[in-house]
């Protein structure tokens, strides 16, 4: 097998993260590329969550795919919820003690989900208990690895003294041991993963033993039927990172000195990662400061304050928090204060689907403002881009003295991938036009050029105000001054148009003379690249136009491609309106008429994208995707 799509499901808080993390590390240690997406309910221990993943012997995968060949179920709900995701010949690891559990007895099942499953069970003539479902699966080509989790634990308890307060760790290990056996992962790699997760002490020792016991039972009964081909990709040094992690890494490499935030899903993890690297000496000298404030109003204003003193600064938030930052961003734009906002998109509006994903805040990031001010909007499509975008955002903010919004979607934020270690020699820091020794004629907002000479607070007297100002920064609402200072500021947009090359704004993938063109951004990238390969197998040549900056917009490329392929150009996005297509219309004067959209809060899978493209090629104008529990 070249690659393995798998899914691990269980109650939130029940050890799913551990199972997934250890398996990812074990795969990576064995030389395989991995990607895993975490889907979960909002902060409720016990609710169903799952991790959908892929391990690949040839590449560092970027797309997620159904059906899956392996389902590791920590509870009955996971089997009920995901049995329809199984490929023919798939393997299901489950707790056979739960055979008599009926769907209606599981309190954590959402009513709509329960009804949907019940409908399917009825249609297939399956009783509501887990045992009947498992028998149905057996009769229909699925291999069932039924283990009595209780007996396994009970046997272990006779040998050791299970650490009661960490009992769920042992359930994680059942899934790890059984999966590792079926996939034939080197036991040393599993040991590496467990050691990395549990560090030391009795929990580690017990689980090392327990994993071996479980693996032995499973491999002696089933062998290693899901064994992957030997790894063929020579990936070099790898990192296993989430999108949140890699943005934090990019910021550190990019010279970030201060991060402000108020905790919000899915942005907070980035700040938590940075906090782990906060090292401050007695005089406040050290690596970087992470400052949690009382809300996002304070977070953006603290960031602006830091920026005025010459600190390289960013704030991280998601939609509801960004809204609170909008007034502050206007202030920053007017006062030429460089500030980066890392904007993690989740499914809204309001609290919406706080733990689910979306790309529905694009228009908000581009247009949210009181009055007009120049800004840049970058959007990352994968972990590698997120790393470099985080650095670029800091550079652009200071070079143009503007707010820079860096869009990341929740899918990317929460997806853990194996990523090649970045070539750090390519990283650079450009702090822009800084005046080290401001003389007495110094004018902070000099009319001489769009970007003003920047002196830091503490170096000289600088005036800042929330009102419109003159060159010195004093309040002035005089019409002629207003025109001059507005023009000066807004001309930064023209400067950005001239200086940011087209190839920084957009990337083109796939066939150069395609039958179909996909147009997208953000996390669509992985699915689009995966779909291109699948389409090729069906004899369809596809191109993917990946937008990386919305301000400045890659209008020349989009116009050019549209002029050649307008009848086969498809907008692909995780939102309802097709927001990137709206911007193509606004900024490049092109009307992309065909759409593939998904707004369930779940990511687009490469297989469903491929199928939707085929339907569009057969005449459909719009496809709304819905796959995924």
């Amino acid at each position: 097998m070249k690659s393995l799509n798998y899914l691990l499901g269980g109650p939130q808080g029940g050890g799913l993260e551990t199972s997934s993390q250890v398996l990812s590390w074990a795969f990576a240690k064995s030389g395989y590329g991995v990607i895993s997406d975490r889907e979960y309910y909002s902060n409720i221990v016990g609710r169903h969550s799952y991790i959908h993943a892929k391990a690949d012997s040839e590449e560092l995968p970027k797309d997620l795919q159904y059906p899956v060949k392996l389902l590791g179920a920590m509870d009955a709900e996971s089997v009920f919820t995901h049995f329809t995701d199984l490929d023919s010949g798939a393997y299901v690891i489950y707790n056979s003690d739960l055979n008599s559990t009926r769907l209606s007895q599981i309190p954590s099942v959402e009513p709509e989900v329960g009804e949907k499953i019940l409908k399917i069970l009825k249609k297939l003539n399956i009783e509501q208990d887990l045992g009947s479902l498992v028998n149905y699966l057996k009769d229909n080509g699925v291999n069932v690895v039924g283990l009595s989790y209780r007996d396994l634990l009970s046997e272990l308890q006779k040998k050791t003294n299970i650490v009661a307060a960490q009992a769920s760790r042992y359930i994680s290990t059942i899934i790890i041991g059984a999966s590792a056996a079926l996939v034939g992962i080197d036991p040393e790699a599993v040991k590496y993963g467990l050691t990395r997760r549990f560090k030391s002490g009795p929990v580690l020792e017990h689980n090392l033993t327990f994993s071996e016991i479980v693996s032995e039972i499973v491999s002696s009964n089933f062998g290693s039927p899901l064994k992957l081909d030997p790894p063929r990709g020579n990936f070099g040094r790898l990192m296993i990172v989430s999108g949140n992690d890699i943005v934090a890494m990019g910021k550190v490499v990019g010279g970030l000195r201060m991060q402000t935030y108020y905790p919000i899903t899915p942005a907070a993890d980035e700040s938590f990662t940075l906090e782990e690297h906060e090292r401050l000496g007695e005089a406040g000298i050290g690596s970087l400061t992470v400052f949690q404030l009382e809300d996002e109003l304070a977070a953006v204003n603290a960031a602006i304050g830091a920026s005025l003193t010459g600190t390289r600064v960013a704030a991280a938030t998601s939609g509801p928090g960004f809204d609170l930052m909008v007034e502050g961003l206007g202030w920053a734009g007017m006062n030429e204060a460089p500030v980066v906002i890392t904007y993690y998109q989740r499914g809204g509006p309001s609290t919406g689907q706080p733990t689910r994903g979306g790309q529905s805040d694009l228009l908000s990031s581009v247009f949210a403002s009181h009055g007009e001010y120049p800004r840049m909007v970058l959007a990352s499509g994968d972990h590698e881009e997120a790393f470099w975008d985080a650095i670029d955002a800091l550079n652009y903010a200071e070079v143009y003295q503007i707010p820079v919004i860096h869009l990341v979607d929740k899918f990317l934020a929460n997806t853990i991938r194996s990523v090649a270690f970045p070539d750090l020699s390519k990283a650079y820091i450009n702090r822009g036009k800084i005046v080290q020794e401001p003389g007495k004629d110094y004018k902070r907002f000099s009319f001489e050029s769009p970007v003003s000479p920047r002196a830091f607070l503490g170096k000289t007297l600088v005036w800042y105000t929330g009102d419109e100002h003159n060159e010195e920064g004093h309040i002035s609402e005089e019409p002629e001054n207003r025109i001059k200072i507005m023009n000066k500021r807004m001309e930064k947009l023209e400067l950005i148009e001239q200086e940011v090359p087209e190839e920084r704004r957009v990337s083109i993938y796939g066939d150069e003379s395609p039958d179909v063109v996909l147009y997208g951004w953000g996390f669509v990238k992985g699915a689009a690249l995966g779909a291109i390969k699948m389409l090729k197998e069906e004899g369809v040549k596809a191109m993917y136009v990946h937008v990386r900056t919305f301000i400045p917009f890659p209008k020349n490329t989009v116009k050019n491609i549209y002029s050649k392929y307008k009848d086969v150009m498809i907008d692909v996005e995780h939102n309802y309106l097709g927001q990137a297509a709206v911007l193509a219309s606004a900024f490049a004067n092109v009307e992309i008429k065909k759409h593939i959209l998904k707004y369930t809060g779940r990511p687009i899978y490469s297989n469903e994208l491929k199928n939707a493209v085929m339907r569009i090629l057969k005449g459909s104008e719009k496809e709304v995707l819905e796959y995924g529990a």
């Binding site: 050890g15 209780r150 009992a167 769920s168 919000i264 899903t265």
Partner: protein, 104 residues
Amino acid sequence: MHEKVLMKCINCAYYRQHPIYDFIGYCEKKGSVVFPEESCKDAISIVKEETEKLFENYGWAYCIECGSVLFDRNELDKHISLGHSLTQKFLEDEVAIYESPGGD
């Protein structure tokens, strides 16, 4: 000759259930993991009056058999009359927090 039928852990006053996995429990007396269907010579009955007193104090009780939280006195009586094991105590889980990503 009749053997004395030993009480199961799930029905014992020393039993604490795992908050997520109902097939894992903890014995306060032994200080170790036990399993609900295990039998034990040291098991002691849950005193009905004690359950009622705790219910008055906490305002809720958890029925281990039904897997549900009871807030209503009549409900409580119903489960007691069915001989169900009611508790306010759970096995302390110190790792669930690390497995529960925030959602706010």
